[in-house]
Every structure is written in C-alpha cells, then in structure tokens.
Homo-oligomer: 334 residues x 2
C-alpha cells in the first residue's frame, strides 16, 4: 500500500508536508496542496486510519451492539446509526448478540480492543454488571431502546410505560377484560415496562391480572408462536393478547390461525414497534409505533457530538403512537 512517504518522495517534499497538505493545514501554500493532492490521487493513496488512530487516540469507528439484526426494528435502528456515522466519516462495527449475554460481553471486549471511540447498545439486559465497568471507562456509550436500572446512562428510547398504556387501554376500551401478555426476555427493561403498564391499566379498570396469562418469550417470531400456542390452548383463554413486540405478535397470529381462531373476531392481537411488515394488507397488525430509524440517528448524533466535546448527558424519551389496524376489535360478547 502506498504511504505518505511514497507521496512525499514523488512530490519532492517531506512526509510532514504531505500530511499537512492532505489534512488541509493552513500552513501549506495552496499550490503545494493541490500538487500533493493530485499526486496522492494518482498514486491511489488512502490514508492508513490504523496509524492515524494510533497517534490521535481515536479509531474513527463506533461499535453497535444489537440483539437481533433480523428484527426489522433493529435493522431500522442500524440503518439510522449507519446513516449519520457514515456521513461523518465513521465506521460502524456491528455486533449481533442473538440475545446471548455471553456473546454480548465478548463483543464489548472485542470493541474495546479495537479501540472504538464510542458504543451504541441496544442489547442490554436490565442489570448486567458489565455496564458498570463500562461506565467507569472513558469510552462514551448510549443505550437505545433498552434502558438499564443499575447505572445511570445516556439513553434514547420511547416511553414504554406510555406505549404499553396506549396498547392496553385500546383493548380495554374495546371491551376486553380477558387479556394476555406475552413479553420478551424477563430481564429486558423495555419488556418489563410494557408489562408494568399492562398491569397498571388492568388494575385501574378493576380487571384482575391473571398470572397464567402472562408469559415471556425471547422476542422472536418462533418464541411468540410457541407462547401463543400455549396461551391459546388453555381451557380458559383470553380474548385479547398484547405482545411486547411485533415479531412476537406475528408468531401469535400464526398460532391463532393454526388453532382456528379468527382474528380479530375471536381474538384481538396487539403488537409493538410497527415494523414494516405490520402494515401489510394481509397482516394489518394493530401496534404501537416507535420511531426506530430516528432513534438510531439520535443515538449516533449524540455519540459523535460527545466525541467532539459536546455535552455528555442525554435522556430522550420519544413518544410512541398507537396505530389501529385490523387485528383488534370489540370483545366477543361471550
């Protein structure tokens, strides 16, 4: 690979001059700059960011830790992060944990070895202790979508209590009193918040919370399918199900179909996220919309601004929005 020295030799100047010219230093005469740039271009020079990172103490890359890139919600977050990172010349190192805490820890170590300038985490379980260690280190990080109670940390997400409330109140208003909840992993804050809202709304309306209608999955379609099958096979089953995300809701829909339950006539199903497939005519899933792409952008923008000396505080709770489609309907009178 051609280095700054090669360019210097050809241009008949010192490497320092080349470095300055390429970094547009005001110290260099314009014509020299132009000449050096031209030569660099001709030689196909691309600066070595490893070397540059070593001396500047900044790698020009950020780490993005995601539980499941296959979930359109996180794909959108990823897209948002990539958009702003790239616009500012940063690279994004993607880490897909598959909801596995071990992988997550191992990824964080990888990212630290790579000296990423900052981290965006969407994969945090509610009380993982490694976050404490991270908070002590100097590397800035943001939590997206999944908060953490253990450590005060910069965060951007939607108000999941409110989102859960919107969802469950919608069901209650439709006359449902037998409502089930299928969450994500039991240690994910966003899922817990949605559950808390679920219980709160039921209680407010004097509807008993039935433990046997509450279950946890791992935020995948398959898990939603399984949990749905189990829930809907009970002798006494709910007339509505609130799934803690859309992917799970799609699994529930699948379970309902296989059991011969008509949606929404026999069963109302409500999701969370508003992934693009929720709006398909064949699906028409009622759900709570989150600005996922926006969240990725906000997180990245904040992170990059911190890297340039901006304020280190961030706490953004965006507002979720109920999107009523066709998987919810008034409760059957039975």
């Amino acid at each position: 690979m051609v280095t700054i020295k090669d360019v210097a030799r050809v241009a008949g100047v010192s490497p320092a001059t080349v470095s300055r010219a390429l970094n547009d230093s005001p110290l260099i005469r314009e014509e020299t700059k132009a000449r050096i740039r031209r030569i660099a271009q001709e030689l196909g020079y691309e600066r070595n960011e490893l070397a540059r990172g070593l001396v500047k103490g900044a790698s020009g890359a950020i780490g993005l830790v995601i539980p499941d890139i296959t979930n359109p919600f996180f794909a959108e977050v990823t897209r948002g992060v990539g958009e702003v990172a790239h616009a500012r010349g940063y690279g994004v190192i993607l880490c897909n944990t598959e909801e596995d805490p071990d992988r997550e820890r191992s990824y964080i170590r990888l990212l630290r070895r790579k000296r990423v300038d900052g981290l965006i985490l969407t994969s945090v379980t509610a009380e993982d202790p490694y976050l404490k260690a991270l908070a002590r280190s100097k590397t800035p990080f943001v939590l997206v979508s999944r908060a953490c109670q253990l450590v005060p940390a910069p965060y951007v997400g939607v108000d999941d209590r409110l989102g859960g409330r919107l969802a469950v109140e919608h069901l209650v208003e439709l006359g449902h009193r037998r409502i089930g909840f299928i969450g994500g992993p039991a240690d994910v804050q966003s899922s817990l918040d949605r559950l808390a809202a679920f219980e709160a709304v039921l209680t407010e309306h004097g509807i008993p919370v039935r433990e046997e209608w509450i279950s946890f999955s791992d935020f995948t379609q398959r898990a939603g399918y399984r949990a749905g099958k189990e829930l809907l096979r009970r002798k006494v089953r709910p007339s509505a199900v609130f799934a803690a995300n859309d992917v799970v809701a799609l699994g529930v829909l699948q379970a309902a179909d296989e059991l011969g339950l008509r949606v929404p006539e026999d069963l109302s199903v409500l999701g969370y996220d508003d992934i693009s497939y929720a709006g398909l005519p064949r699906i028409e899933l009622t759900t709570v919309a989150q600005p996922s792409f926006e969240m990725g952008k906000i997180a990245a923008e904040w992170l990059l601004s911190v890297l340039e000396g901006g304020p280190r505080r961030l706490y953004r709770l965006l507002t979720p929005k109920l999107v009523v489609r066709r998987t919810t309907a008034p409760a059957p009178s039975g």
Copy 2:
C-alpha cells in the same frame, strides 16, 4: 488506557516479555506467563488492535457492504457473516448502501482507509468499474448473491437462472400464459438472471414475452407496490406475476389487495428469497428459497481462510428451492 508497558512495569519485566506472554509464546516460562496474565487481567488490560494491526499489517476487521439491511434476506446474510467472523475474532464493519452506487464507492474507500483485511460485497451493480480497481488491489473480496460480469471474482450465490426457471415453470404448469415480471434494479445481475430465465421458459413454451408486463423496481416493498399497481391497472393484465424478490412480492400483494384482486384466485404471485415473513399464515407466499444465512457463512469462511493463506479461488452456486405456498394457483379459465 492501560498499555503493555504498564503491565510490564507492574510485573517487573520488559514490554517484550509481556507481549510474548500474552501471545502465548513458547519462549516464556509458564509461571511467568501466568503471572503476567494475572496482572494484565487485574489492570484491565486489553490489547490495542490499532497498534497491533499497524505492525502486523492486518487490522482484524472485514468490511460487509449490503444494499439494504432492512431486507430480511440481507439481514440473514449479515448474521451469517457476523457469526463466523466473530468466532474467529474478527470485527465486521457494516456498510448499508441503500442501493446507491455513490455511497457504495464511498464506503469502499472508507473500508480501504480502515485497512480491512477483506471485503464481502452484496451490493454490486453488474458493471461497476470500481471492482476492477479492487481486483487489482491486494485486498481479497467475495461477491455474495450479486455476481459481476466485468471481472472474474470469487462468488457465492444461488443459481438464479435455475431459481427463475423453477418459479416460472411452476406458473406455466399451473396453466398461466399471461405472466408479468417485476425485477430489481436493471443493473443487478441476480435480477437480470431471473429475468433471463423468465424469458427463456416462456419462449420454450411458446408463450410470447410481452415487454409491457416487464418492469424494474429497486427491490423494496414500496417499489414493488408501485410497479404492481401500474402493472395490475392495465386493461390487459397478467394472471400471474413473478417478482424478483419477496419484498417486492409483498408490495405486489399489497397492490393486488387494494385493487380488489383476490390472490391466488384472480392473480398468482411468486417471490424469491423465502424471507421469514413469506411463511406467515396470513401471507403464505410461494417463493424460491435461498440459503441466505448459509451464504453469509460461506463467504466469511472463505474470506478468513484466504487471509490465512488458503486458496484464493471460490465459485459456489448453491441450489435454490421452490417453496409452494398459497399465493399461486391454477390460472383462471377466463
């Protein structure tokens, strides 16, 4: 950040010894190794891969260039790549081009500056000249799913001619003779191959190819919707549509629904990829399955093996599989 020197000072040895110990060199006495490792651990040392990369001439990262991370097909490829890369300690720098050739070129440059050890490209348009330059450079790369005619390059994908053939023959066997095609971007090889198969099969069966029923989109749901609307609004419209991927097919389904066309009674729709949403009970899209996750894994495995001196040739054409579900049916007798 704690460096090798800090560890050396605490351990009372030279930096060289620490480096050797941490790299498990046989030159170091076992007890010294153990002691040094313990100290490194206590100090929270993580080796600086920037520095390491600089001296070793290898960054320990690969670049992954994807047209649309939001498309489950590419999300699966990404997952496959990440799985094997991380198992071997490599980082993956993700670049989402949104099908924009300018972005693509700019990403490639970013990745070269970051000195990635290799590239996985799924975003190549059929005759982009930058590939030639890439081929001349020493950085190894693989093309996944989208081939390139301009340059002989390592490739893993499915046999799109065969896949297209399976699809169209299925329609013909169902008695369809008025068949439309909605492709991806006009310069994407995989889309072109599927089109070629489409035309070949029609011709073989003595069915005229009607240009006005052939159109191109950009491989998104929205584009599929638009193209579908246009196609299905014609006075004379096809009884079946072959969409060059599932996302586009979903858009076509949406268009059909809005126009009051029943699928599959009035219109058969066939996709390509078999993304996870294609199998939903509400969708049941007939499609051609590609082993997307597998393709990502194969590409990464090959790339990493090349980095360790393995053979530099690769050409894997996997076999696509027709998955018949419920969006295709015999042609209406009309």
